[in-house]
């Protein structure tokens, strides 16, 4: 398969290099990684993510873009190390993520899930403190330092006023910020977010993306966001990984990836792509109201 978004030079370099000789500055290295889900052994796979290759540096915001069932969450789980690739490799600073022990992994990779259910009520402050867990020992009580770090995390997402509120009483946007604060409290290198804008209104969506950009810059994170929001990805991502039905179609900057024919095929909708003055593409839905009248 081909990935027009990656320059041939970069691809040959990635293919030739092992863990030791990766290009400088690369933090997450996904190299020809594939995965497939089967119900039973020897049964035909029900879903396959075909070989995917891309690299992400620190301070970079990568959007994994695609419609539902395109393999976005599978790719995210591969990067999180909760599943091991069938072929190829997924590395963080040269270590395969699926081989790291859970504690070390959680010190380096933080995951913000779509939704989390709590059986017993928890206050936002205590919830954020959970992010300190990978830094503690088994019989462990939080130290002063842990409270400071959790507090700073809440300040960074602008949610310090929420710390005594119960999680289940927060609004969608507030909850999302607290969940993000817990991920920051892990002090990771990589921040993975699974559809973080799903239940947010447009104001909260933009607020979150601006925050993620700023965090990538200030905390030197690599931020990887799974999303199907074409507009947000185009506006805020440095790099786009476009997935379609388990295939990695394109990797590159938004301007490189956002081609009208490709997007229309992937999202199965009539779309217009306009390149804005600052070089970022804007996606518009084509007005085809006549179709509605048939």
């Amino acid at each position: 398969m081909t990935e027009p978004g990656v320059s041939p030079a970069a691809r040959s370099q990635a293919a030739a290099s092992g863990a030791a000789a990766k290009p400088p500055g690369v933090r997450v290295n996904v190299e020809q990684a594939s995965y497939s889900y089967t119900v039973r052994r020897q049964a035909a796979p029900i879903f396959t993510l075909e070989a995917t290759t891309f690299q992400a540096r620190d301070r970079e915001l990568v959007a994994v873009l695609g419609p539902n069932a395109s393999g976005k969450s599978t790719l995210l789980r591969l990067m999180a190390g909760s599943i091991a690739p069938l072929t190829g490799r997924v590395e963080l600073d040269g270590f395969e993520t699926s081989r790291l022990d859970p504690r070390t992994r959680a010190q380096r990779i933080a995951m913000v899930q779509q939704e989390s259910s709590l059986i017993f009520p928890a206050r936002a402050g205590d919830y954020v403190l959970q992010g300190r867990h990978p830094h503690g020992r088994s019989l462990w009580f939080e130290k002063e330092e842990d409270y400071d770090i959790a507090n700073n995390a809440l300040v960074q997402v602008g949610a310090e006023h929420l710390q005594d509120r119960w999680m289940h009483q927060l609004s969608g946007g507030e909850k999302q910020r607290v969940v993000l604060a817990r991920a920051l409290a892990q002090q990771p290198l990589v921040l993975l977010l699974d559809e973080p804008t799903l239940h947010l209104d447009i104001g909260a969506q933009v607020d979150l993306m601006i925050r993620l950009r700023r965090l990538a810059e200030q905390n030197r994170y690599t931020v990887i966001v799974v999303t199907h929001e074409l507009g947000l990805a185009a506006e805020f991502a440095d790099q786009i990984v476009l997935l379609h039905r388990g295939k990695c179609l394109r990797v590159g900057t938004p301007a490189e990836v956002y081609r009208q024919d490709v997007l229309e095929q992937v999202f199965e909708a009539p779309l217009d792509v306009v390149i804005g003055p600052e070089g970022r593409p804007h996606v518009q839905i084509q007005g085809r109201r006549e179709q509605a009248h048939i």
């Binding site: 999180a80 909760s82 022990d101 859970p102 504690r103 070390t104 992994r105 959680a106 010190q107 990779i109 933080a110 995951m111 899930q113 989390s116 259910s117 709590l118 059986i119 017993f120 009520p121 928890a122 206050r123 402050g125 205590d126 403190l129 959970q130 992010g131 867990h133 990978p134 503690g136 088994s138 019989l139 462990w140 009580f141 939080e142 409270y147 959790a150 507090n151 710390q163 005594d164 892990q186």
Partner: protein, 340 residues
């Protein structure tokens, strides 16, 4: 940050509860078919401690040292074991209604215990082992039956537990009919939960050692359990070795249930009631919940047993009847509140 859980707060909460436990123990020592005054109690204990054993009355020695004290110690161990097992199962199954009795785990342990009593009556130490095997097999079955499309479903799980309990009760009745009629009354009493049969000293030590080993093992996973409650995937992303933690809790909680059932039968609802009250009082952090639930379970069972001995004195009720009378309505209340 406000309201931090510190080691100091954990220790002081445990100390406070231990004082309550001592109070209940004192009450349990005094009350009964033959009541003792606090004064006589203190006097005799003083004589015992200062080794002036000749001054201790025979009544006191017989009733206190031979009957009531062993029974209270047994109640403490059984209550603590059931309560910690309940808290463990609640985290393992992510279900606040999980309890060894409700899930049929106690019945499974009872089947194991009865089979060992029938098959090898001369080896009493096999009974706890058989009860452990019965408990472990039942919780494994309930866990597998309670899964739906790979996910643990709360209501399916409870149903699976209740069905298992009723199936196992049928097996118990089947086994009991093979017994001579003289033994049935004792066995029926034991099944309802009964602390009146004192343990042989050898068995008591096995119980104490395994109780502390299993509770300690669960306690080492306390901060992991806090995270496990918000889901396995999420716990894993926060650095919890989910497979290891689940295995530790599964084995330890089964050991605790097996021990408790093998010596006292199926005392119900302690594992549900006590952790729930503790959560309301002190919050749901497992680092505090495990030790306080252990002490709270001891308080609950000793208190319930004291009531069982005194409300219809001189006749005795099985303590399991007392805990079920208190526990079943609370279970219904919790279930309705969750569904609301």
């Amino acid at each position: 940050m406000t309201r931090p859980l510190t080691l100091r707060r954990t220790v002081w909460t445990c100390v406070g509860l231990t004082i309550v436990l001592l109070g209940v123990v004192l009450l349990a020592l005094r009350l009964g078919a033959v009541p003792f005054s606090l004064e006589a109690l203190g006097q005799n204990v003083w004589w015992l401690l200062t080794r002036q054993t000749d001054k201790v009355s025979t009544d006191f020695r017989l009733i206190m040292v031979e009957i009531r004290l062993p029974r209270i110690l047994l109640g403490i161990l059984v209550g603590a074991a059931l309560s910690v097992a309940g808290a463990g199962f609640q985290a393992l199954l992510r279900n606040p209604l999980a309890d060894p009795y409700v899930l049929g785990v106690s019945s499974g342990a009872a089947v194991g215990a009865i089979i060992s009593m029938l098959a090898a009556p001369r080896y009493p130490w096999i009974t706890p082992l058989a009860a452990f095997v019965g408990a472990a097999a039942t919780i494994a079955a309930v866990y597998l039956l309670g899964r739906r499309e790979g996910q643990l479903d709360s209501s399916t799980l409870l149903l699976a537990g209740i069905i298992s309990a009723s199936f196992l009760s049928a097996i118990i009745i089947f086994l009991m009919t093979t017994l001579a009629s003289r033994e049935i009354r004792g066995m029926a009493f034991w099944l309802m939960g009964d602390l009146s049969t004192a343990l042989p000293p050898g068995l008591l030590w096995i119980f104490v050692v395994f109780f502390f080993a299993a509770t300690g093992a669960i306690y080492t996973t306390a901060s992991d359990l806090n995270l496990l409650l918000s889901g396995e995937r999420e716990a894993m992303h926060l650095g919890v070795d989910v497979t290891r933690v689940k295995l530790v809790v599964y084995v330890s909680a089964s050991i605790l249930t097996g021990l408790a059932v093998s010596v006292s039968g199926a005392i119900g609802y302690v594992g549900l009631l006590v952790p729930h009250v503790i959560r309301m009082l002190f919050g749901s952090d497992y680092r505090l919940l495990i030790p306080t639930a252990a002490i709270g379970g001891a308080i609950a069972v000793v208190f319930a047993d004291t009531l069982a001995r005194t409300v219809v004195a001189p006749t005795e009720l099985p303590v399991g009847a007392m805990t079920a009378i208190a526990g079943a309505p609370v279970f219904i209340y919790l279930l309705r509140r969750r569904l609301a």
